[in-house]
Subunit: 209 residues, 2 copies
DNA sequence: AAAGTCATGTTGCAAATGCAACAGAAAGAA
DNA sequence: TTCTTTCTGTTGCATTTGCAACATGACTTT
């Protein structure tokens, strides 16, 4: 995905983008699978590949908070834990990331450039989307049982594809981590649901009945 | 709290606010306890009192998603469910709310007024805060046990006051609802934690040891 | 005063969940 | 290929949790 196509630059022309690249001191970097992506005080825009956003626990283990692909945005605006220094972004599929230092966005541009307000407005829309994503996760986690969480998650996925079936974007282990439940217990529950005819599973393809 | 003091209008003068009130067609309304606050496509700014944001379940019961006081902001920007039509805002303590139709904020002002970009920038900061709040809730709910959720919630409260102790902003029933756990089970767990010397409780005042 | 409502405390019990441990399958690296 | 790692499926068991039911006290309403 091209930078210009990213929602953050919606309404910006190619020429303007060129100018902004300098004005915002944007930097492009590539990462390979499993590599950790440094975030500091930057906003990261994912042009290609996919990454996971994880929280580092006291015991050294990781909880996946999010998983995103092309066009995804991550950084200090979007999460509580970055400030706490225990947020870890990991490249899942080799990716290209454009970094922008937050201060270029937050602070008013001394050159009073016109693009600035446009980007702020776009960022606002992205934040809205991010709030929706978080609300979605809260909604999922608010269900008390594993089955409840699974069904809720499945329904969200189903709504996104529009079809009755969809594919998990990651492994079942990762799903358990995302849902904050025990993997084996989840596996057990999935089997039950399959037996009860609630769902069909073929590998990572799932069909809600 | 005065409207001018609200973070949404940070950096705006009294005169400008006057102008904006017309430009944005802002409307002020009062509500009494237990009253439902209609939201439509508005942003609501809470000047006085407090409200709860609840989700309406299929069975007619309500889950509290949030509880906010003076200066709080709610509306379509801030939650997933409003669009789904099952979000219900309820006045908890008699309150005053200022409504702004979202379109006045989202769309570029035809009069190209200067305040507009300022408000968008402020709104961006508010969204950031909202993202943090949601991340906080996700963090709380990501703990698997009731004890884990309680301790996590307590620590957040503690950090906010800065002291070792703090007071619940609502009832224990409401807390259980907020944490998405069974009230009686939570009550049982709190007793255990008290006996183990992890916490001290005097009514709704809690001290982390 | 009497009735009703709500917050809180308590308990037994069935069901759900987490945990630990193990094993085969699949995928990737050497 | 072989070796290694990760993913996945499974099971027993102790613990936790949700649920239902009931009791009490504070407060409000009639």
């Amino acid at each position: 995905m091209k930078l210009l196509e990213n929602p953050l630059f919606h309404g910006v022309s190619a020429g303007e983008l060129e100018e902004m690249t300098r004005c915002f001191e944007m930097e492009e970097r590539k990462f390979r699978e499993k590599e950790e992506i440094p975030i500091h005080k930057n906003v990261g825009i994912l042009l290609e590949g996919s990454v996971s956003i994880n929280r580092l626990n006291a015991d050294g283990s990781l909880d996946m908070l999010e998983y995103m692909s092309d066009g995804g945005i991550f950084g200090s605006f979007f999460s509580l834990f970055e400030e706490m220094g225990d947020l870890i972004v990991i490249c899942e599929k080799s990716c290209t990331v454009v970094f922008i230092d937050t201060c270029h966005i937050t602070k008013r541009c001394s050159r009073a450039c016109h693009h600035h307000s446009l980007v702020v407005e776009n960022l606002l829309n992205l934040m809205t989307e991010k709030v929706h994503q978080l609300s979605e996760k809260v909604e999922i986690l608010s269900h008390r049982s594993i089955r409840g969480k699974l069904l809720c998650y499945f329904q969200f996925q189903q709504n996104k594809t529009g079809n009755m079936d969809f594919s998990l974007p990651f492994s079942y282990s990762a799903l358990a981590s995302y849902l904050c439940v025990d993997r084996s217990a989840m596996s057990r529950e999935l089997k039950k649901m399959k037996n009860e005819g609630l769902i069909q599973m073929q590998g990572r393809k799932i069909t809600l009945v």
